[in-house]
């Protein structure tokens, strides 16, 4: 028995290392001044990548677009999801299974397909209508909202179904029996019961909309959302400002998770009647300290302090030293190469990477990171899209 426990524990640790390892490494790279995200060798501790992140025009524009689209999606997908859940609750079982399949399908259909089908349909419709309607309809905002609703509504619906299953239908009947009209019973009994689910559905749909790439990359046309801007940045070369972004998101997540935990704990303690017994709640000081609002405030204060201190950190001296060091070594290297070339009469020169790495893109992968290996591997920045390995019309390779 205990062997199983040991094995289980070890496995869980290994599993969570897999889950968190990459994230932790990414977080650390956010504070290394190296132009390429890495932790060894370590150059200088810096907070400069955060500034770089906020200075990224395209990402910030995308953020605004994402918010606009997200609000639109939430406003439509939540009611639609609720309607779906209500419809399912009223259908006979066979029809119910059928409708459920249809409504859940958009979650399973590849996002690419949803995106394509959306632009194709609305492209045709708007072309048919023409004029101002076409402009209003055939644009990235409208198409993305419409495209995302298709599957985001299903997430909302799943939340509502789960909540609805716990609804006691006699509550509605009691209301009717006491003289409420069906509409009144709906507004005063069912909707208040669904309120928490409406909140979480709104949250989940907002997140899903924000996160989405596969559908959005088609429907957003020439605009960009936060996620598509992010993706094109990653595809065209990486730098640690993305790690800085991850740090921000992870921090927000942790603050949210801890606050939520405090809320849950308190709710449970109060429900279970443990509140009066637990020593934590008996002492007024600890009781106040474990209040979700206080927990949240403390966390925010910590984050704010750390951010403020971090923003004052100046790593320029250290970075200058590192840069100088690099330049020296490259000069050395160049001299050595020159000597080599002259000696062996090899006419093929090797492009020495520029230490500034200003255009991060196609050559971003090297960025002065491989001074010891002049026979550099192929740059890894330029695959997939823009510098596309294969253009599809070429049928043979």
């Amino acid at each position: 028995m205990s062997r199983a426990v040991v094995f289980g524990g070890a496995y869980a640790i290994a599993f969570f290392s897999f889950l968190f390892g990459p994230l932790i490494i990414m977080v650390i790279t956010a504070f290394n001044s190296s132009k390429f995200p890495r932790i060894v060798p370590w150059d200088c501790f810096t907070t400069g990548w955060f500034a770089e992140l906020f200075g990224n025009q395209r990402l910030m524009e995308g953020l605004l677009n994402s918010v606009i689209i997200g609000v639109g999606v939430v406003a439509l997908a939540v009611p639609i999801g609720l309607a779906g859940a209500l419809a399912l609750s009223e259908l006979p079982s066979k029809l119910r299974a059928m409708l459920y399949t249809v409504l859940i399908l958009p979650i399973l259909i590849p996002g690419v397909v949803l995106g394509i089908s959306t632009i194709v349909l609305w492209g045709q419709i708007s072309r048919g209508l023409g004029g101002a309607v076409q402009a209003g309809m055939y644009n990235g905002y409208f198409l993305t909202i419409v495209g995302q609703i298709t599957f985001v509504s299903a997430y909302a619906m799943l939340v509502f179904i789960a909540r609805l299953q716990r609804f006691d239908a006699t509550q509605t009947e009691a209301a009717l029996d006491l003289g409420a009209t069906p509409g009144q019973a709906f507004r005063k009994i069912l909707l208040p019961f669904m309120a928490p689910a409406i909140g979480s559905a709104a949250f989940i749909t907002l997140l899903a909309s924000f996160e989405n790439y596969n559908t959005t990359v088609f429907t957003v046309l020439s605009e960009s959302t936060f996620t598509t801007a992010l993706a094109s940045k990653v595809r065209h070369g990486t730098d640690p400002s993305l790690s800085a972004l991850a740090v921000i998101i992870i921090t927000i997540t942790l603050v949210g998770a801890l606050t939520n935990e405090a809320v849950q704990r308190r709710k449970e303690a109060e429900l279970g009647g443990k509140a009066s017994r637990s020593p934590l709640y008996a002492n007024p000081l600890t009781r106040a300290l474990t209040h979700p609002g206080v927990v949240f405030a403390i966390l925010v204060a910590i984050v704010a302090t750390v951010s403020y201190v971090g923003s004052k950190h100046d790593s320029s001296v250290c970075e200058a030293a590192i840069l100088q060091d690099k330049l020296d070594r490259q000069a050395e290297l160049r001299a050595a190469q020159k000597a080599k070339i002259e000696a062996q009469e090899v006419e093929q020169g090797i492009t020495v990477p520029k230490p500034e790495g200003g255009f991060g893109g196609a050559f971003g992968g090297l960025g002065g990171a491989a001074p010891v290996a002049p026979a550099a591997p192929k740059p890894e920045g330029g695959f997939g899209g823009a510098f596309g390995g294969i253009a599809p019309p070429a049928p043979s390779e």
């Binding site: 006691d168 006699t170 509550q171 009947e173 009691a174 209301a175 009717l176 029996d177 006491l178 003289g179 409420a180 009209t181 069906p182 009144q184 005063k188 009994i189 208040p192 019961f193």
Partner: protein, 371 residues
């Protein structure tokens, strides 16, 4: 109070006019035909699944009868929704609204009728006084005890003074002590407000103690309607005889019948008893003789027979004696007569008898398994 205020005493009767309710091929209620009088405490008693709730939902308007009519106060209720009927239903699990305070629960019927906030609060407080729970209006429903919830549910149902209060096994979730207490309380409330109570239960104790009249149901059929003592002493079917109270059933063959008395030949002897339900038997017909445990008296000369004592259960005021006669197991209840009352010990032969008027001959039919 708005519209429902009673001017003169309104007609609070309910008439079930040949009501049948079917789900597909399944008949849940079969030709129920009875009248419940204004201001009466009326119970439907029957085992689980016999169609009690179905009938109640039909009266309160959640379903329409497949056949027949429901009349409340002599008005046909066809097409009148549950929110338009002068009925209020207390659900099996009460269905209090957990997201509202106690006062808001009680005032809900007023709220949906557009009564102002102040009036609602006042009425809620009056009703809380009536159910002897003053000052709990601002509590949450989850903070109440089982008995308090029960009373709040009643107060809520009475908030707009319905003509008929329907109660679907409202006490089944309570523990025994509280249940017995609430019986008295319910009866008192009913007498105070004068509303017709239609009460559903599978607990015969509840039905017999509280009701003016009881209808016994089995498999969708109403077997008998009558006052509690009639139901107990004058059962009209073997189901009623076996379901209500303890009973001993002896199987036999009718020899002669004269008016409302008959002689039944059983393996233990030939007994004379009252004929139940006004039936007519031909000699040779099979029938059952029911005699209650407390009617079997040791040493009685009428309808005497021999039995062997198999075991006793002493329960203070009563002594339950189990005996065997032929291949029939009998149950005898004896009032504790002090030290002199001993009937003997296991294996002893005893002589028993019963008065013909206190036993009933009924046609062979369904016997309730759980008595």
């Amino acid at each position: 109070m708005p519209e429902t205020s009673p001017v003169s005493s309104p007609d609070r009767s309910v008439l079930l006019d040949h009501v049948s309710i079917r789900f597909g091929n399944f008949t849940a209620v079969d030709n129920a035909n009875l009248k419940i009088n204004s201001g009466e405490f009326f119970s439907f008693l029957g085992p689980s699944g016999c169609g009690k709730t179905t009938l109640l939902r039909c009266i309160s308007g959640f379903s329409e009868p497949t056949e027949g009519r429901v009349l409340i106060g002599a008005k046909d209720m066809k097409g009148v929704g549950p929110n338009k009927r002068p009925t209020a239903l207390i659900f099996q699990h009460l269905a209090l609204f957990p997201l509202m305070s106690v006062a808001d629960n009680i005032a809900f019927p007023l709220e949906v009728r557009g009564v102002g906030k102040k009036m609602r609060r006042k009425r809620a407080e009056d009703l809380l006084d009536m159910i002897a729970l003053p000052g709990i209006g601002d509590k949450k429903v989850s903070e109440l005890s089982g008995g308090q919830k029960q009373r709040v549910a009643i107060a809520r149902a009475l908030a707009v003074e319905p003509d008929i209060l329907l109660l679907d096994e409202p006490l089944s979730a309570l523990d025994l002590k509280l249940r017995q207490h609430m019986r008295t309380e319910l009866r008192a409330i009913q007498q105070q407000v004068g509303v017709t109570f239609i009460y559903i239960t599978h607990d015969q104790g509840e039905a017999l103690t509280m009701s003016d009249r009881v209808a016994v149901m089995s498999k969708g059929v109403i077997e008998q309607v009558g006052a509690p003592d009639q139901i107990y002493n004058r059962p009209r079917s073997s189901f009623v005889a076996s379901f209500v109270g303890e009973n001993n059933a002896l199987k036999g063959i009718v020899k002669v019948q004269s008016e409302d008395m008959a002689a039944l030949e059983t393996p233990m002897g030939t007994f004379e008893a009252r004929v139940g339900g006004g039936r007519k038997y031909k000699p040779g017909d099979e029938a059952l003789l029911f005699v209650r445990p407390e009617q079997l008296v040791p040493g009685k000369a009428e309808n005497a027979f021999q039995a062997t004592l198999s075991r006793q259960e002493f329960e203070g005021a009563t002594n339950h004696v189990f005996a065997r006669a032929g291949d029939t197991d009998l149950r005898i209840s004896m009032v504790n007569g002090g030290l002199a009352g001993s009937v003997g010990s296991t294996g002893d032969t005893m002589s028993l008898g019963f008065a013909p008027m206190n036993a009933t001959i009924l046609p062979v039919g369904q016997i309730a398994s759980e008595a």
